[in-house]
Symmetry: C2
Subunit: 339 residues, 2 copies
């Protein structure tokens, strides 16, 4: 493995100059810079993380702490985050908030002590703790909030627009000619449920249609069984909807089952759309039209923000509030209503 010394020799300069070039510092003649770059390429040189880290005390690790390792959300986020880290030449160190492991702050403190990370990603529900934010801020640790319920003033955050996504999903249904669209809502405790519901209502009202009432909007609480009951109630009513928008794919699957039980075909008798794009959504039949949370892009944004922050020596860079565009995945569970 070539070292900085080899590069310096090859380029006919001192190691300090090579160092300057590597870190994009000023005070290097342009021709010299090029010569160094050439030498680095020819030797296929890449700096040693270990040495760098030893010298600067800054780790390339990025910490992410979560509280529910079994959730599908977290699992997919991990996946995306790992990929993003890998792409950025950094690596992810994960930690778990234990139910009975003391206060969040204590656990965060212990994690930092143990791993020595100085970049952290805070995911729900921890990202909504102002205590944690305060602590990290005071300690000078760079951090990003992932999908916080409320954006904080001085802190960078990355999220998607649940409300807009729900609105577009509903619009998609309206565009196909549906006039009566049911909504199986999520757990009201989650802010996302609220936003998705609002987006759904907005789309409908903005088309001049009446605001949907209790016959069309039922709480499913992200629970399969409740959603099943909700869908059955809707579909067996007097004036059943021609389409159902479930606030999660799990609940959309429940709508599939309710339709089957009632002898209704999806999508011919009733269209169904979901939210999440869980892995089964594409393999189930008919394949489910749904909203894909842009995990990959959100992860990449988190890493980018953290990188910028730590490369910037001068104090704290301005916080960024990034909203990543989602994607509507149109598949075959949705068609124009009969007649």
């Amino acid at each position: 493995m070539p070292t900085i010394i080899d590069v310096a020799k090859k380029a006919g300069v001192s190691i300090k100059t090579v160092s300057r070039v590597m870190n994009n510092q000023t005070n290097v003649k342009e021709t010299t810079r090029e010569r160094v770059h050439l030498a680095m390429e020819q030797l296929d040189y890449s700096p040693s993380d270990a040495a760098r880290q030893l010298r600067t005390g800054k780790s390339l690790a990025i910490g992410m702490l979560y509280s529910d390792p079994s959730s599908g959300y977290q699992s997919r986020l991990n996946h995306a985050m790992m990929q993003a880290c890998s792409d950025a030449g950094r690596y992810l160190v994960v930690g778990l908030f234990e139910e009975h492991g003391g206060s969040w702050q204590q656990q965060l403190e212990a994690f930092i002590e143990r791993t020595k990370v100085n970049n952290i990603i805070l995911v729900p529900p921890m990202c909504d703790s102002s205590i944690l934010q305060e602590y990290l801020f005071n300690r000078g640790i760079q951090f990003v909030l992932m999908s916080p319920s409320h954006t904080a003033p001085k802190v960078s955050s990355v999220s998607m627009d649940d409300q807009m996504a729900a609105r577009e999903m509903t619009q998609h249904l309206l565009d196909q000619g549906h006039k009566r669209i049911g909504h199986i809502a999520g757990d009201p405790a989650h802010i996302a449920s609220f936003l998705r519901r609002r987006g759904y209502e907005e789309a409908i009202v903005s088309m001049g249609l009446p605001r949907p009432g209790n016959d069309l909007v039922i709480d499913g609480q992200f629970d399969f069984r409740r959603a099943l009951a909700a869908a059955e109630t809707m579909l067996s009513g007097d004036n059943p909807p021609t389409a159902i928008f479930a606030a999660s794919d799990d609940m959309a699957a429940a709508a599939y089952m309710a339709a089957g039980r009632l002898g209704l075909a999806v999508p011919d008798d009733v269209s169904v759309v979901g939210f999440d794009n869980i892995s089964i959504a594409g393999t189930i039949w008919p394949s489910l039209t749904t909203v894909a949370q842009p995990f990959d892009d959100m992860a990449a944004e988190c890493i980018r923000i953290l990188r910028n922050a730590s490369s910037d020596d001068s104090s704290r860079p301005a916080p960024e509030l990034v909203v990543v565009p989602h994607k509507i995945i149109v598949r075959s569970s949705c068609t124009a209503p009969a007649n």
Copy 2:
């Protein structure tokens, strides 16, 4: 942060002695060893990974390369592996085999060059490549095979026993009194499909029941739609099974839907069991009895093997062939047959 020097001072010894104690080396008087341990505890000392790495050239990173980032299997494995790494004080670096990125060996080579990992986990389908194994072996890189189709002679591997799991799952059905049990098999291209099917047949035959024929075993190829057709065929036949064992949870979900379409209730009219324990299995209703692949334990075993291997200075340690016990998750999709 205390360093080795602080510990040495506190214990009244030289740093070399502290180093010896840390690395469990010989030639230290027992009382001295204790004194050092005490000092380390009192100072809450932990060695610097960066320095260690710089000095030894050995990275704490563990590499894992995969080819299908969107698969649920991979996503769950990642998750488990990250956790295991974190627990072991190491970290995971992931890489992706690109479809058109050159041969596997070239890509593996590039990954190693770039990340400098010297511990690698090979997952399906790469774990079955003897070329890759040979390459890593010659290069002196420690590696473990994850769920290989065939265990290799000189290489450690970690897997679960698909056949045994399928056999137990089927036995569970038999124990409840089922005599006619259908099987929706997976893609014959996967060795796991074959093993699961064999386990199913074994259980049935060993009870003195006739070996199931083509009316009871249908290929679903891990495809929802095919599985749906298969389940409908079985359940609408002359002598329908009272229980269906699907080789994946996705396909079990298809069986649910087929039952619903035919006006059959799960589990009262037909029991359904699956394989994988995907996240929806517990939330769907009735919740699905299934086989849980022991991702966490398998991941932990991989890391353990790698750790042992790299701490062992003397040549190459003996390869281990670990089979991790699986778990049958009994939920509510399965009951005794009617009458």
